[in-house]
């Protein structure tokens, strides 16, 4: 039975040598003069502090984004709930105004159905009955507000105007 000794490859030897060199450098660092060592330490601490600040900023921004995201999600739910509520209310109103309900109320109040004999027709000059049906608000004119620009002048124009008004002579 034979046993072969571990053979180190040339590459492994080189890596180990480089590692030893790095460790030696680090050792050398500990043997630096105190002032220089302090300088290194301050730089290192500064770098850590900057990293911490950046991390903090990132956390802050991401947490704000998460809160906004949650707000969006809850608003979406609120919008959906409001839409359902609107539909419910409209249906409830329609039920209260339904033909059956109206008729029952009218009968309970002692009203009688209108007959031809109850009718008198009079001419109202200028009156033209409007038999058309409109379920939308035509007077809304959605586009007008949107098309109107929020600002009428550029920033440079505004600055020029402010300067001009500032340099104008005071009224006597």
């Amino acid at each position: 039975m034979t046993a072969s000794a571990p053979v180190r490859s040339r590459g492994a030897r080189r890596t180990f040598a480089a590692y030893l060199e790095a460790v030696s450098s680090l050792d050398a660092g500990f043997s630096l003069p105190p002032a220089l060592r302090q300088q290194w330490l301050v730089m290192f601490a500064g770098a850590v502090a900057i990293l911490a600040v950046l991390a903090g900023l990132y956390l802050d921004v991401s947490s704000r984004a998460a809160i906004s995201g949650r707000d969006i999600q809850s608003l979406e739910l609120a919008i959906a709930a409001n839409e359902r509520s609107n539909a419910d209310l409209e249906t409830q109103l329609a039920s209260l105004l339904s033909n059956q309900t109206f008729e029952a109320r009218a009968v309970a109040l002692g009203y009688q159905p209108l007959t031809r004999d109850d009718l008198d027709y009079v001419l109202v000059p200028g009156y033209i009955p409007d038999n058309s049906v409109h379920l939308t608000m035509e007077s809304q004119q959605e586009g007008r507000i949107a098309n109107e620009p929020a600002f009428q002048q550029s920033l440079l124009e505004w600055i020029a105007q402010q300067l001009e008004s500032a340099s104008a002579p005071l009224p006597q």
């Binding site: 969006i72 539909a87 249906t91 329609a94 049906v133």
Partner: protein, 581 residues
């Protein structure tokens, strides 16, 4: 000693460095491994979900803006199986509040299917019941916070919309209904299902709030404004139901249309059903054509079709109102004989008398004299044998046999002229008759007044289907019908208003034989004569009467009397006086 520690520290540092290096290598290797795509996919899968957003179904209004079909909130009550603390409480509450079977719910909760994490217990739960359950859940959670028994933990409520009809049965035959799956059946709901339902959209909704975005706004389905007038519809349904009771008719239909533009003001058919209980459909109707007889049920109309035969004869120049003929009591055509309704001979008759007395021989003779080509050309122009295209689901096309058809015989020319051997729907005859009331122009019957989509209203324009006869012929026939009603003191007449109309009594064929005691009683009429604003069609199926003039004509009168009030139509004299001022 110091060197010993140093060498140990170096070895330890080397080990940790090697470990770190291995970890780095592994990270990079995984990124580029063959499983990397699967890992990424898995990560994406759990980072959100695809959600289908269904738009709110559009509402349906009558011509005055009264809601006929809307939506209401209902709840899907489900349970998150992992969160259930007390299945007994859940099953008990579902049993008490939602009338569900306790054992079924309990067993489902105890032995759920493999891998199931969420179970729907009941859908379409009304708001009141769902809110009662929610309250109970909150109360139990508060009272039994520590022990946790009893508890409704795990119950969840998912709100959504369901179709509802505030007017219940009103206009049911024309409206149709929407099933729980959200699909429209019959009437307007089926015809305009795509418009009403809108376009659903599937969007990716991330779970992470960091990636939350505003969901796209899905526009709701279009709202529809119908030409139906709620008040007229209610009155017509009431009159129809009363007529069915009084005449013991098996079924009936009344349709009211504006003959100038084809707007359907009311469409009632029997039986009506509460659209909110659409699950009763199969117990109310035996087949689909019974849902709305006005458009889906074809029948031999009998003498009401004589107005079209006379219009063809007048328009073709064959006869004039004063043209006379000798009625001998029979007429031979195509190797057979046709007789009058009383099998009598009426002697010399003019064309108005022909209509007033509803003489079959007169009509068969007119058709024969016109010739088959001319007669059937006119009938085709009137749209017989073709669907009108009315915007309701399930319209029947009727049947008009014409020369060349295997089952057409020469005698059909004579019998078709007085309404036998031809099958029509009420809406077909109304469409054809609109040419008579509207200066020869035949209008497209429709229920859609307009639609509202994205805040804009789009109205349906009046469409002319054709001009089968000249304006002069139309006015002549209308005048003849009005004169005929006055001549025979028709029960359809309305004091103060000149109306035009015609009865129709058609025996019902069974196994090829006309039954003497089973009739379809019809009446079609319009008014006021000089400015027609309504056209009424009445059809009573198998009433306990021999003649339509006893059963259908009074119904027409009642509807017309109601209409002039509801539509604010002054009597002729007042109207002419007002017009003169």
């Amino acid at each position: 000693m110091k060197n010993l520690y140093r060498s140990r520290a170096r070895i330890l540092a080397a080990i940790f460095a090697a470990l770190g290096f291995v970890i780095l290598i592994q990270i990079v290797r995984i990124q580029y491994s063959s499983q990397a795509a699967a890992f990424l996919q898995q990560g994406d899968r759990y980072s959100g979900e695809f959600r289908t957003l269904y738009p709110e179904r559009g509402q349906i209004y009558d011509r005055h803006g009264f809601l006929l079909a809307g939506n209401k909130t209902v709840y899907e009550v489900g349970v998150s199986l992992r969160d259930v603390k007390n299945p007994n409480s859940v099953a008990l509450s579902m049993s008490v509040v939602l009338n569900m079977d306790y054992d079924t719910v309990y067993n489902n909760l105890i032995n759920p299917p493999e891998g199931l994490v969420y179970m729907v217990l009941k859908d379409y739960v009304p708001s009141q019941q769902a809110l009662a359950l929610k309250d109970l859940q909150a109360q139990l959670a508060e009272q039994y916070q520590k022990t946790g028994d009893p508890s409704l933990a795990g119950l969840s409520f998912n709100a959504h919309l369901q179709r509802t009809y505030p007017e219940n049965t009103l206009g049911s035959n024309a409206l149709g209904f929407v099933t729980l799956e959200g699909r429209g059946y019959f009437g307007v709901e089926e015809k305009y299902n795509d418009l009403l339902a809108g376009v659903p959209a599937t969007v990716w909704v991330p779970e992470s709030p960091n990636r939350a975005e505003e969901l796209p706004q899905i526009p709701k389905g279009s709202d529809l404004i119908l030409t139906l007038d709620r008040e007229v519809q209610a009155a017509v349904e009431q009159i129809l139901n009363d007529a069915l009771t009084e005449t013991n008719a098996q079924a009936g239909t009344i349709v009211v249309m504006n003959p100038k533009n084809g707007e359907i003001l009311a469409m009632a058919s029997s039986p009506q059903m509460n659209l909110n209980d659409f699950s009763n459909y199969t117990s109310i109707y035996h087949n689909a054509s019974e849902f709305n007889r006005a458009v889906s049920m074809q029948y031999e109309p009998g003498s009401v079709i004589k107005i079209l035969t006379m219009a063809a004869a007048i328009d073709s120049g064959l006869v004039a109102p004063g043209t006379t003929y000798l009625d001998t009591g029979f007429y031979e055509i195509g190797g057979g004989y046709v007789y009058n309704w009383d099998r009598g001979a009426w002697g010399v008759q003019d064309m108005t008398g022909c209509l007033a007395n509803s003489l079959n021989i007169c009509m068969a003779r007119l058709a024969d004299l016109m010739g088959q080509d001319t007669y059937y050309t006119y009938m085709r122009r009137f749209g017989l044998g073709h669907p009108t295209g009315i915007d309701l689901a399930g319209e029947s096309s009727g049947r008009l046999k014409t020369p060349g058809d295997e089952d057409w015989y020469q005698i059909d020319l004579g019998t078709n002229a007085f309404g036998q051997g031809v099958a029509l729907t009420p809406i077909q005859l109304m469409t054809a008759a609109s040419a008579l009331a509207n200066d020869g122009k035949m209008v497209y019957p429709h229920l859609l007044y307009g639609m509202v989509s994205n805040g804009h209203q789009y109205d349906t324009p009046t469409q002319i289907l054709g001009t089968p006869i000249s304006p002069q012929s139309a006015r002549t026939v209308s005048e003849m019908l009005a004169a005929a009603m006055e001549r025979n003191q028709s029960l359809a007449r309305l004091d103060g208003y000149r109306l035009a109309g015609k009865t129709g009594t058609a025996q019902i064929p069974e196994n090829g034989v006309y039954q003497p005691d089973a009739i379809n009683a019809s009446f079609i009429g319009w008014g006021p004569l000089d400015d027609p604003q309504f056209m009424i069609y009445v059809w009573l199926e198998r009433p306990e009467a021999d003649w339509a003039s006893y059963v259908a004509t009074p119904v027409f009168h009642t509807v017309a009397e109601k209409l002039v009030v509801l539509m604010k139509i002054p009597p002729d004299a007042v109207r002419q006086q007002l017009a003169g001022q």
